[in-house]
Symmetry: C2
Amino acid sequence: MGTGDALPHVVIVGGGFGGLSAAHALRRLPVRVTLIDKTNHHLFQPLLYQVATAMLMPGQIAAPIRQVLKSDQRASVILGEVTRVDTGSCTLSVATPDNQMDVAYDFLVIATGVQHSYFGKNQFAEFAPGLKTMPDATMVRNRILEAFEAAEAEPDEAQTRGLLTFVLVGGGPTGVEMAGAIAELARLTLKEDFRRIDPRKARIILVEAGPRLLANFDASLSQSVAERLRRMGVEVITGRAVEDIDENGCRVGGEFIESKNVIWTAGVAPSPVAGWLGLPRGKVKVRYDLSVPGMPDVFVIGDVAYYEQDGKPLPGVAQVAMQMGEHVARVIAARLRNNAPPSPFVYFDKGNMAVVGRNFAIFERGSIRFSGFIAWLIWSMIHVLSLALPNMRMGVFLQWVWAYFTEQRGSRLIVDPKNFSKPESTVRSA
Amino acid sequence: MGTGDALPHVVIVGGGFGGLSAAHALRRLPVRVTLIDKTNHHLFQPLLYQVATAMLMPGQIAAPIRQVLKSDQRASVILGEVTRVDTGSCTLSVATPDNQMDVAYDFLVIATGVQHSYFGKNQFAEFAPGLKTMPDATMVRNRILEAFEAAEAEPDEAQTRGLLTFVLVGGGPTGVEMAGAIAELARLTLKEDFRRIDPRKARIILVEAGPRLLANFDASLSQSVAERLRRMGVEVITGRAVEDIDENGCRVGGEFIESKNVIWTAGVAPSPVAGWLGLPRGKVKVRYDLSVPGMPDVFVIGDVAYYEQDGKPLPGVAQVAMQMGEHVARVIAARLRNNAPPSPFVYFDKGNMAVVGRNFAIFERGSIRFSGFIAWLIWSMIHVLSLALPNMRMGVFLQWVWAYFTEQRGSRLIVDPKNFSKPESTVRSA
């Protein structure tokens, strides 16, 4: 395989924020790096809700992992899914598009993130899609846009109401951001597009089982987000759980809400890393150097890692994953030089944000808190600058400026993936 | 349904170049217009090959039909598929996303275009996808990009060669444009992205059964296109038919070419309009006013219409469809005023173009012919300006400028539509 075959081999599983950050930091070390991901792109998850609500195009928030790492000659990329980890022989089994291969490692960095969880009620999945991957986002976009189309063609009034009712299950950042974005889609973008229905009359309902939205933020910010959403015409329900979901809607606190558009923005669960390592199910508790206890060459970082700081587990956010990726590179550097390990991993919180439609976001860092237009400008700037490639930054920036002034959206495509063009039928030619 | 219910009702089936052009031209008349399309977007088909080769994002060449027609209060849009036409009662049956509806018309304009045809060999469809709809384009993009990924992970040399061989079946404009684009993707964009394979060594083969490429152009231009393609490393085979296609490749003139990427860029067949109207299968022969013989209120325009001029049938190109759409509006205007019908439809040919990668295109109009860089600039300009919405023009223009200087492409996403995120398994939680 050319130069570098003799160098220690670091295998990273997962091309999200943690995995890419580790790959970048390892560039400075005398190691070969192989990054394995199930998809060919690094997804900028914080803006996935904007794809789901037709603001951005998929390609604008997805960077080909190869392109991101192309200038690093010692890094290679494999598109494939890890099916097994053998920590004894230090080997991974990987299913590639057409084949299967074994990959030996000297150091293993697992950064596979989370998937969504219906808390054991997987029968909800059919009626209430979640939002984690790009296909999820385009499917949710299809459903939202198609609901307006179906309503325009629906003679029955009760059916029309169900089609124009959107329920977001879960009042975390995704639920809040989706609610604000759907409200703007209905009240601004689509307001003149239909002749029979008035999209502005769409009901948007955000349901949170806990006592308030955005439980990770201070209560005063939760309060101002709820107020902002209500002013945008979103019905905010807290303290009531979604008890059931079917094709006609959902039951919330005993009351049935008719809705053809229930979207799951609630729980997440770690990807099945623990199973690979023969550990109990759930997040993987890591040591101060982010290695797995008893497996000094295996590191787990990001959302799938469990690490306590100041007596509390670190949250599953991009910043934690990125800082962990950098820390792992420092640990590996020390090992290669036979140095003492660096001091334990400490997460430095640069602050936490959430956004509600145009012109409003909240910011919190320790006791610094503010909300409103300035926070929204900062949110926008940070998100544009955090995109992985310069053309993505330019694309998203221009898209947002254009959308801000026109109230239009970038990508209102309904594309049914099953709707390939059918070839001319041979039966009828007979 | 508010204002205008008493006005004559023109129903247009199909939101392509012909249908939209008719809708725009009818805006000036005292009529209600309803446009019915299976998709919610007007697809700019001449650039579909750029989506299939990862240059442009789907949203950049697809305009929501509602957005295009929103300012016309007398025009409404239905997302649905026509299932039946009853010319006796002047009614269409339409399947909408959630329902079924009947639509009565005073005038009917059918502009449903073509689908691709395997000339009776539909078993080819599985191995050689065609390129007509957006899902087709993203599927072909997935396949092309995934072939490079699979090759990178493939230990067997013969298999790798098959994965890196691309065969385009059919040397019309789509085949020529795809061949040029795949050559650039492999030789420029991807050249530094892989570690085991060299994407520049990909074989790209363009097969045309007839004696030369681009039969609609003058032989001298066919010649310069073939030369250009060969200089870009494309193998051009003419005068030999593709006899068979299976999962391992295709047989061309008795010789089997191993290829995992056979793409169908050959024949087209009209959509099943003739069946709706109880006419013999194929294109619908229309009268001088584009109406169907014996059905004065039913017009057929665009690729699905058969109309001879100077003893030859008009070609299936956007310009013909657009001019026919405008003509139908003139015919309807004359009918409404009880005027004599306008003079018979005459197609005015503004010229015909095709493009081969960057920096090279051909132009022909009557005896005016030229090829090269200037033709390419004109091609680029015309295509940018022809896009339906201003943001699409800006988006495609910036994308092309950026791509021209960086040799990168806009949208290298592999998105398997089946790959929704899986919720946490309930089985394993037991």
